[in-house]
């Protein structure tokens, strides 16, 4: 591929700027007590990667066990603990904070032309809460684990299992506050910290997506917090709120839990959609088609997202009318997601497309998210849901959205902003290979699970009838390819910290404010408070800026 937009400074003379947020202060304490949003983002990247690998290793164990129909690698109750911890760690300690806490934290002040998030101490506190929650979750796993599934469904979690429900619940509760504080910080920053000229409709769509996700974090997370408190009280004292023998209703727990946990899937995907809006514009050299529609579709997803939770409970005994209404509302939430996909596709139309790594991941996202989203419509239809729910179809559906969607977007974002964060480029060829390997591995892993689901293989069992083995072997083989796809970036990104090419301010010739400052940025981001005098994604403005620079230097 000869066509590329990458424009790097002359490597023989280029240097990483001496003064930047990494070199500003030295020593471990200067990192652990920092208020700088960029340093906190780096702390998050390191800790998130750690939890991702624990969650990933557990996924590997699950796939290994499912290689054969019998329970041979581990006993059934161990398997239950493994998939529970996989879910808990991946959902609460990777997916929910993934893009917001790392890229969002790093970029939102930069994109808005601000010096920092509005509440730097709260930002640091949220990282400590995250680490504390994560440490507790790891401790739980080491001291015997928990086997309720990540959903803590009552009465299983309150009456029947004898594993560490309380400590896991506490871990999720603590991590929840981390998430609340991150969301709160973003909302305040977006409202109050925009630089002169940065109107709402000049903000990058990345910021809009985070704004919508933050609303969900702030409004949804407290509800799961109280649900967990009630589970804890039920388990310890037996207060009876979820206990049918005392007149409580176990279904109430599911209502409270999914009131958060359904919006939580939008917390997980919306920031990823924000990343895609940035990359697709940059690598097509075009303003995102229908900017306003994409911005509002983020908010629409956030709003609709709060009114669909009961579609997780179609077979749990809610009334037929409730099924009807929630099925309809679930269809509605597909509309704003489709608006985004169509607008991104139109952005590509007649654009000057190049295929750098972030763009490859972006294409991966668009294809896989579309499949994941459309299969969601199958599940929102009550008739098919009754057949497909609690089977591998569900597993495949949410892995297409979460792994195929969010993880692809996360990797797209990490590659895209890697030069901004570190000042150095990642190696292009091998990372393109990694993107392709990830895509292939992903499809091998999860596409067979759609078929398994329609054939009726139930989820959450260590053993299965022998006729399902072929597809399971496919899936496990795919998982090992996927594992390679995830290991590669860790290796070459670490390598690039020292040996990568110097990136310069704006290697992609992108338009966002974050690209108009040095890489890595200064501690307070900009030497002069920027003034936003153009629309977002204005490539003509960028062209004029470059001409001006050439003229003034010449």
């Amino acid at each position: 591929m000869s066509a590329t937009i990458v424009s790097l400074p002359d490597q023989s003379t280029a240097r990483i700027p001496k003064m930047n947020f990494i070199t500003k202060e030295n020593g471990l304490l200067s990192w652990l007590l920092t208020g700088d949003h960029k340093r906190i983002a780096v702390l998050y990247i390191i800790s998130l990667t750690f939890f991702f690998f624990i969650g990933g290793a557990l996924a590997g164990l699950i796939r290994l066990e499912l290689l054969t129909p019998q329970t041979d690698l581990m006993a059934a109750d161990t398997y239950n603990k493994v998939f529970t911890m996989h879910g808990v760690i991946m959902v609460f300690f990777f997916l929910v904070p993934s893009v917001p806490a790392t890229l969002g934290n790093f970029l939102i002040p930069l994109m808005l032309g601000a010096k920092d998030l509005a509440l730097p101490k709260i930002n640091l506190l949220s990282w400590y809460l995250y680490v504390a929650g994560g440490a507790l979750a790891i401790y739980t796993m080491a001291s015997g684990g928990v086997d309720t599934g990540w959903t803590f469904t009552t009465p299983l979690s309150t009456h029947y299992v004898n594993t560490n429900v309380l400590t896991t619940g506490l871990a999720v509760f603590i991590a929840g506050f981390s998430s609340i504080f991150t969301g709160l910080n973003f909302i305040v920053t977006i409202h109050k910290m925009r630089c002169p000229g940065m109107t709402w409709f000049r903000m990058p769509l990345f910021v809009w997506a985070h704004y919508a996700a933050s609303i969900l974090m702030v409004l949804g997370t407290p509800v799961v917090a109280i649900a967990i408190v009630l589970v804890a009280l039920e388990r310890t004292i037996g207060i009876g709120v979820f206990d049918p023998t005392k007149g409580g209703d176990p279904l109430l727990f599911q209502h409270l839990f999914w009131f958060y946990s359904h919006p939580a899937v939008y917390i997980m995907i919306l920031p990823g959609m924000g990343v895609i809006s940035e990359t697709i514009s940059t690598f097509s050299r075009k303003r995102v088609f229908g900017y306003t529609a994409v911005a509002f579709s983020s908010v629409a997803i956030a709003v609709f997202g709060f009114f669909v939770w009961a579609h997780h409970m179609f077979i749990m005994g809610i009334s037929n009318y409730a099924v009807l209404v929630f099925s309809l509302l679930t269809m509605l939430v597909a509309v704003p997601s489709a608006i985004k996909i169509f607008n991104w596709t139109f952005t590509l139309y007649k654009g000057s497309i190049t295929f750098e790594t972030p763009m490859l991941y972006t294409f991966g996202f668009m294809g896989l998210f579309t499949i994941g989203g459309l299969t969601g419509v199958f599940l929102g239809t009550s008739g098919t849901d009754i057949h497909l729910t609690e089977t591998y179809f569900i597993v495949a559906h949410f892995h297409f959205v979460m792994v195929g969607g969010m993880l692809m977007a996360f990797l797209a974002g990490i590659h895209f902003w890697w030069p901004k964060i570190t000042g150095r480029m990642y190696p292009e060829k091998i990372s393109q290979l990694a993107a392709v390997v990830t895509f292939i591995g992903f499809n091998f892993t999860f596409f067979p699970q759609f078929i398994l689901g329609t054939l009726g293989m139930p989820r959450r069992y260590a053993a299965y009838p022998p006729e399902f083995q072929v597809l399971n072997v496919f899936s496990t083989a795919g998982a090992s390819i996927l594992g390679v796809g995830y290991l590669l970036p860790i290796l070459y990104l670490t390598w690039s910290l020292k040996y990568g090419e110097i990136a310069g301010n704006n290697p992609w010739q992108a338009t966002g404010l974050e690209w108009q400052t040095q890489s890595p940025p200064l501690t307070e981001n900009f030497a002069v408070t920027p003034i936003m005098d153009h629309e977002a994604y204005d490539y003509e403005w960028l062209e004029k800026q470059r001409e001006k620079e050439v003229a003034s230097v010449g």
Binding site: P222, D249, A527
Partner: protein, 257 residues
């Protein structure tokens, strides 16, 4: 914006109150804000958002209350007779008074009256403790009557109201059928969960008040930087308002049916 924003100065506000540009800033202006208004604006907005999360937190409990109240109406009526209106009303009065002293405290901070501020904070502190004291008396009553949900929960006040003469004298409750009587436990679960969560918020508030009294004596809030006092005031009023909802729901409504 002034020239001072053009200078990338690290760390927190310079101790000499001035930036390299020679532009005057109060010491409490954090380095990443352009001016004092923006800082106060952001802090206030963040506090309101935090209170919104608190509304959602209590919202889960109120939802549970609403549902079970509709399902187990007779049990909820009879169980509410066990609550002492006198203590409840007194506590409401104590709490509203504490909100008044807190509001006066905010006013004192804004008008830079240090002695007034300390006095108001101490009064609020004492009234907060008073509330918790009265709550303890009420909880003690419940414990003695075995109305705490769990293993020792006793149904006798509801299946055999005459055995509880004090309440019977006043309300002449009819005995509840066993299955309905058992649902009084759900009422008390919600009573303890809701008032307990409320009390936890009071305890956190009182702890912060203690800290604030120390700082106020050192003159921290009477030199123009009142954001912390204002935001704490919002928190205190919020906790008060939660009680304003809890009191009628748990103590008052449908009591005489």
């Amino acid at each position: 914006m002034s020239d001072s924003t053009a200078i990338a100065h690290g760390g927190h506000a310079a101790p000499d109150n001035t930036h390299a540009g020679g532009h005057e800033h109060p010491a409490y202006l954090r380095h990443h804000f352009e001016n004092v208004e923006q800082q106060a604006d952001a802090a206030g907005f963040a506090m309101w958002l935090f209170l919104l999360t608190e509304v959602m937190f209590f919202g889960g409990l109120f939802t549970a209350y609403l549902i079970y109240r509709n399902w187990y109406y007779p049990a909820f009526v009879e169980a509410s007779h066990q609550l002492n209106i006198f203590w409840g009303t007194l506590n409401t009065a104590v709490l509203i008074t504490s909100s008044f002293t807190m509001a006066m405290g905010v006013w004192c901070a804004e008008t830079r009256k240090q002695r007034g501020l300390v006095l108001c904070l101490v009064l609020t502190f004492i009234l907060g403790l008073g509330f918790l004291g009265i709550k303890t008396v009420e909880y003690k009553e419940k414990i003695e009557k075995h109305h705490v949900p769990g293993f020792h929960y006793s149904l006798s006040s509801f299946t055999d109201p005459v055995s509880d003469p004090e309440i019977y004298k006043e309300y002449h409750d009819k005995p509840l059928a066993l299955d309905m009587a058992r649902h009084t436990e759900v009422y008390f679960s919600l009573y303890f969960a809701m008032t307990g969560m409320h009390a936890l918020h009071m305890i956190i508030g009182i702890a912060i008040l203690g800290f604030m009294i120390f700082r106020a004596r050192a003159g921290a809030y009477t030199s123009g930087h009142v954001t912390f006092v204002e935001n704490f005031g919002l928190y205190w009023h919020f906790v008060d308002i939660v009680w304003i909802f809890l009191f009628p729901l748990l103590y008052l409504i449908s009591r005489h049916q």
